[in-house]
């Protein structure tokens, strides 16, 4: 199979430090992965091409990069399935981390965030007298998160980290969830209140936009965003309700429960907190502009037909699940 691998190259230490695209036409096996192609380039065509890899079987987490604009493992991506028009495959270094050379990026930011969430068990209750027996069910649940191979694909494509490097990000938050959801961590009941309090702060769990980039990027099905959502629920359940995010979630649910749909008019004041006057005023110019353009949501929010059925579902489904 003939393909062209178009690599985004950069050598920040050289004289011409700017990134540039370089095309490598080559022949590869029909079942080759993108990594196979890159290794072939390095070995047969251009020894100056830098990349990281080790296991070649999606275990070590070394080879995350952007392939046709989306982060993933080069060793898990079939070349034949990645061909763009003209049989081209575009390969770039992972995003949100500084390039060291070509496809190799600096992982300091990634590891610092992981360290920030203190990735080890912190039991707070009395020490158990014998070994702590964890239920099969909770270990199975956790195995979905411990499947993480620290490849950084999720961090590469995280929408929020792109504009705010202080955000803890998908990998670290998923790692934190691995402990907040572990029955051995936190108090007797397995509630990791102190952790949750920290994660509840700025740059923590509420800063995620739910953009799904990390879910799409993760080669191991960790689905970091879903862990972040579950963690938000843990925080609310642990009584941490005093954030705009928590208020927003509660107000949203209340609106759907009461009317069957979303009442946008009260959602903003409710998420900012009715007493947050300066916060509310900061929205006033946008609201007035919206009003003069006839863009305001209706003042009287109509209920959907048969809303009592929706309310009943709220009661019932809540009851059995809690």
């Amino acid at each position: 199979m003939n393909v062209t691998i178009r690599v985004r190259r950069q050598d920040p230490e050289s004289e011409s430090a700017a990134p540039f695209w370089q095309d490598y036409p080559l022949e590869i096996e029909d079942n080759a992965t993108v990594l196979d192609a890159l290794i072939k380039i390095r070995e047969d065509i251009d020894g100056t091409l830098s990349l990281r890899c080790s296991c070649r079987s999606s275990i070590c987490g070394s080879c995350a990069m952007r392939i046709n604009g989306q982060a993933g493992l080069a060793c898990k991506t079939q070349a034949a399935a990645s061909l763009k028009a003209g049989d081209i495959i575009e390969v770039e270094p992972a995003g949100n981390m500084p390039v060291i050379k070509d496809l190799v990026v600096n992982f300091d930011l990634f590891w610092n965030k992981i360290m920030e969430v203190e990735p080890y068990l912190q039991p707070q209750g009395p020490e158990p007298e014998q070994e702590y027996v964890v239920s099969n069910e909770s270990m199975l649940h956790l195995s979905g998160v411990t499947a993480c191979i620290m490849c950084g694909a999720c961090v590469s494509d995280c929408t929020v980290m792109e504009v705010d490097p202080s955000f803890l990000g998908p990998a670290a938050l998923a790692k934190a969830y691995r402990f907040t959801a572990d029955p051995r961590d936190g108090d007797d009941a397995g509630v990791s209140k102190e952790r949750l309090e920290q994660l509840n702060g700025p740059s923590g769990m509420w800063d995620c936009t739910r953009c799904l980039e990390c879910v799409q990027a993760c080669p191991k099905g960790v689905a970091p965003m879903e862990r972040i959502m579950a963690m938000r629920d843990q925080a609310i359940a642990a009584g941490l309700r005093n954030t705009n995010g928590a208020r927003h979630t509660e107000a949203f649910a209340e609106s759907v429960e009461q009317t069957g749909s979303l009442d946008e008019l009260t959602l903003v004041p409710k998420s900012l907190g009715m007493t947050n006057v300066s916060g509310l005023l900061s929205y006033a110019p946008v609201a007035i502009q919206a009003l003069t353009h006839g863009k305001m949501p209706p003042l009287i929010h109509k209920k959907i037909e048969g809303v009592e059925n929706v309310r009943r579902l709220f009661e019932k489904v809540d009851e059995t699940e809690r």
């Binding site: 929408t159 800063d207 739910r210 799904l212 959502m229 863009k295 037909e305 929706v310 009943r312």
Partner: protein, 295 residues
Amino acid sequence: MRYAFFPGCVSRGGCPELYPAAALICKRLGIDLWEMQGASCTGAGVLQEKNQLLGDTLNARTFAMAEYWDLPIMTICSTCQGVMSQANHRLRNPEYRAKVNGYLAEEGLEYKGNARPKHLLWILIEDYGLDKLAELITRPLHGVRLAPFYGCYLVRPTDALEFADNPERQDSLERLIEILGATVVDFSGKTRCCGFPILTINERNSLAMVGKHTSEAKDLGADAMITPCPLCHLNLDSFQPKAAAQAGREIGLPILHMPQAIGLAMGISPQELGLRRHIVNTRPLMTQLTPAAAH
């Protein structure tokens, strides 16, 4: 052609210009809409944070209603579509569906698993046909440079959105832009997040995203951006002036709802399509349009 129409809240709330524009073009297209008056909100992924089973049950309720009518569902919001697709993906599992149906039984509803929720954008490409749409274009948007902006939930996760079976979904907006006679402005932000969900949580970050995408498209020469998602529209249009102030530059990029762009190409007047309701001025864009051919 008939669909069970799920307009979503935002097309009548924060973006009240979307609902009439969508209804208008569907009428021109000969697409018959039965509005789902009794359907609840999809939960928008927010309710799902608290209780996914509840979110899935509400969506199964909507699906069961459409199934009862024996009609496919039409959405006009990337978020509605994405949340429904994700729910439907989970509800493929018969055991899970049975559990959910347990809750629906009291209302006399049962979801059998056959609902097909589809965004209007997908309907035009997969059911209606772009060739047929082309026949109705009387004022092609020649010379207009449009940047596509999908909204996260219409592009991810690709398994729930069934991209493998429907590869044309990947670049559906670009295909549409071309049929309308306009020129596609490709830019790195087209499948990224508009930042809307964190507007009240971390406004700085949210506005930084708006600023980033709109400036990038503007700097690449876009005359306007087109989006199939009213939530993206809310952030990209209503909050663009604030985002521009934060970024310390001018942007001024009009944001069109997808049905508005289609309507313009069909020769419908900007007033009827609610273009006056936008925050970013759309008039300079209107002067670029050639007069509509008589039809």
